[in-house]
């Protein structure tokens, strides 16, 4: 029952966040100025601008535009692409699977490799293994992910000719882009796991567990890791937003037919409504995943369920 109430609270919060995020997206792109001037170019006459404005509904007062935007959103309508005229939602749906594939594989790779690396580094704190892993993680966070992709293409596709450089096809095409994208969560997860494990191992209940004669492996994995994984779970939720952003550049490098290339297309075509739709959709994905993570956290940590809102 307590968990049910906790879930409801989190669900409500997510809804509010989503509405606010969509509104923010709207205001940010509309207060930046209207794009009709951009679209028609410098040589456009005032009449042409006015005509386009009316056609697209940009001449209405901002509040009215906002109202219709939110109304359409409530009905699941993300508007129409300025360039292609198609429903934005349909456009996004056609590309989303490829992006989900890429992002999921990258996230899984990053977590599955990152957590053991972090645990190992914490267990060998201060020694060579720890220093190497930590340095690599810091390096990983300093490299632009799209450049890493380019370098990997240079090495594995062009020089060694082992793997294809992009486009989709069978699993071989997924390897390079996924590995490239995976460095983002891998670096963060391993660093955070190491720090969290290191902190947890200093807690007194670990010493107490040892004092009770429990074996080293049990203490490390059952007691320490379970406690240390809590902040890591939160991180994974937050990573999705960053991963989405990273995926856009990676998809560009590898010509991966996902949302990222849709976004670059939209940029090239000055397709404001499509970009806005992408932002809202991205926020939606982020909020859903975050909600899931918060619920998971509530299952893992009994203290959260009992905490009262201050």
């Amino acid at each position: 029952m307590k968990f049910f109430r906790y879930s409801l609270k989190k669900l409500g919060g997510s809804l509010v966040t989503l509405i606010l995020a969509a509104s923010l997206a709207f205001f940010i792109s509309h207060l930046a100025g209207d794009p009709t001037v951009q679209m028609l170019g410098m040589s456009a006459t005032p009449e042409q601008i006015a005509e386009l404005k009316a056609e697209l509904g940009f001449d209405r007062p901002l509040v009215v535009q906002y109202g219709s935007f939110m109304n359409e959103l409530a009905h699941g309508d993300l508007g129409r692409s300025l360039y292609a005229g198609e429903s934005n939602f349909a456009l996004i749906q056609s590309r989303i699977w490829a992006s989900i594939q890429l992002t999921m594989v990258a996230m899984v790779l990053g977590v599955v490799l990152g957590i053991p690396l972090g645990v190992y580094a914490a267990a060998r704190e201060g020694r060579l293994a720890d220093r190497v892993i930590s340095s690599l993680a810091i390096l990983g966070q300093s490299i632009p992910v799209f450049w890493l992709g380019l370098m990997l293409v240079l090495l594995f596709s062009i020089t060694l000719n082992w793997l294809p450089a992009g486009l989709s096809g069978d699993w071989k095409n997924l390897v390079l882009p996924a590995v490239t994208l995976a460095t983002i969560p891998l670096a963060r997860v391993s660093r955070l796991t190491r720090a969290a494990m290191s902190n947890t191992l200093e807690d007194q209940f670990i010493t107490a567990a040892r004092a009770r004669g429990l074996g080293n492996r049990r203490v490390l994995f059952i007691h320490a890791l379970k406690n240390a994984s809590l902040p890591v779970v939160t991180l994974i939720g937050m990573q999705m937003g960053i991963l989405l952003s990273g995926a856009i550049t990676v998809e560009t490098v590898f010509a991966w037919p996902g949302l990222g290339s849709l976004a670059t297309q939209a940029v090239r075509n000055q397709d404001l409504t499509l970009v806005q739709a992408l932002v809202v959709y991205g926020a939606f994905l982020f909020v859903i995943i975050n909600l899931f993570v918060e619920l998971l956290y509530g299952i893992l940590d009994p203290r959260i369920r009992d905490a009262r809102q201050q």
Binding site: V16, T17, L18, L20, A21, S23, L24, A25, I28, S29, H30, A32, G33, D34, P35, Q38, I138, L139, Q141, S142, I143, P144, F146, W147, L150, M151, V153, L154, I158, M238, G241, I242, L244, S245, I248, T249, T252, V253, A263, T264, A266, V267, R268, Q270, D271, L272, V275, Q276, L278, V279, G282, A283, F286, V287, N290
Partner: protein
């Protein structure tokens, strides 16, 4: 002068290296126009796609090769530091300023204002950064000012949460309650007592953010919506170089290495700065 030299001798070797590198970086950025370098935007279609000097076909005149339009790669690397530094630092200062103000207000006032600010911050953090940047720049058009503004927009939310927490902690301290009871105005409390204490945290966060901004700017330039030409940016060089990756590997390798080295430097220097500040006593 003697004092500075003495202080320099006391710092560790590592810190000295960092200091020297930082100095070198800033000098490169500041003095680039007067150094004996080729014009970074000087096109020379005769010398298109030259490889670096140490490979066959290269020439000493272009140490690291040229791009499609014959522009010197090395010169573009050096000139690239200028905008990189300016953009990143401006974005950080702007973002830190607004983010911290909002954080202090949220933490100090509490109640409805705090709830409002926190909710908006959460919503902002839910928006994927690149998409947000894209939507703003597409609507407004590409320009340097727009770029800095967008980067600051993306960054401010990070400060709000942490500064808010710090402000809350200080507000609960005994002496602040005492000041409020004795009728000290909110303004004075904030400026005289809270700000000096959170300044260290703001600085720590800001140093972390500079690296992120550099990476973000290069990503945006890579996508074609970052630094407008004729500005020299490593990110846009990567974008134009990517089409020639099979025949001119140097066009994508060197600008990328520049980005990595700069970000690494900023992060390590930031780490040093941070640990220096942590060990300092806080002023009240």
């Amino acid at each position: 002068m003697k004092n500075y030299l003495l202080a320099l001798r006391k710092t560790s070797l590592w810190n000295r290296i960092l200091l020297f590198s930082g100095f070198g970086l800033i000098s490169m950025a500041v003095f680039a126009p007067v150094l004996p370098l080729a014009d970074p935007n000087g096109q020379d279609l005769e010398s298109s796609l030259y490889p670096p000097a140490f490979l066959a076909g290269g020439s000493i005149k272009h140490v690291l090769g040229t791009d499609l339009l014959g522009r010197d790669v090395f010169s573009r690397l050096i000139f690239g530091t200028r905008l990189t530094v300016v953009i990143a630092v401006s974005a950080v200062v702007l973002g830190a300023f607004f983010g911290s103000i909002l954080g202090v207000i949220a933490g100090f006032k509490g109640g409805k204002i705090d709830a409002l600010i926190s909710r908006i911050t959460e919503a902002q953090l839910a928006l994927p950064f690149i998409l947000l940047a894209i939507s703003f720049i597409v609507a407004r058009g590409q320009s340097l000012g727009t770029l800095i503004f967008v980067l600051a927009l993306v960054g401010w939310a990070q400060y709000v949460r942490i500064i808010r927490a710090e402000t809350l902690a200080i507000r609960e301290k005994g002496f602040v309650l005492g000041l409020r009871v004795s009728g000290c105005s909110d303004f004075r409390i904030i400026f005289q007592h809270i700000v000096p204490n959170i300044f260290g945290t703001i600085l720590s966060l800001a140093t972390l953010e500079v690296g992120t901004m550099i990476l973000a700017e290069s990503a945006l330039s890579f996508l074609g919506i970052g630094v407008p030409p004729p500005g020299v940016s490593w990110g846009s060089d990567l974008a134009s170089g990517k089409d020639f990756i099979t025949m001119a590997w140097w066009l994508v390798t060197f600008p990328g290495i520049s980005i990595v080295l700069t970000v690494l430097f900023v992060n390590t220097a930031g780490d040093s700065l941070r640990s220096h500040f942590d060990s300092r006593k806080r002023i009240f």
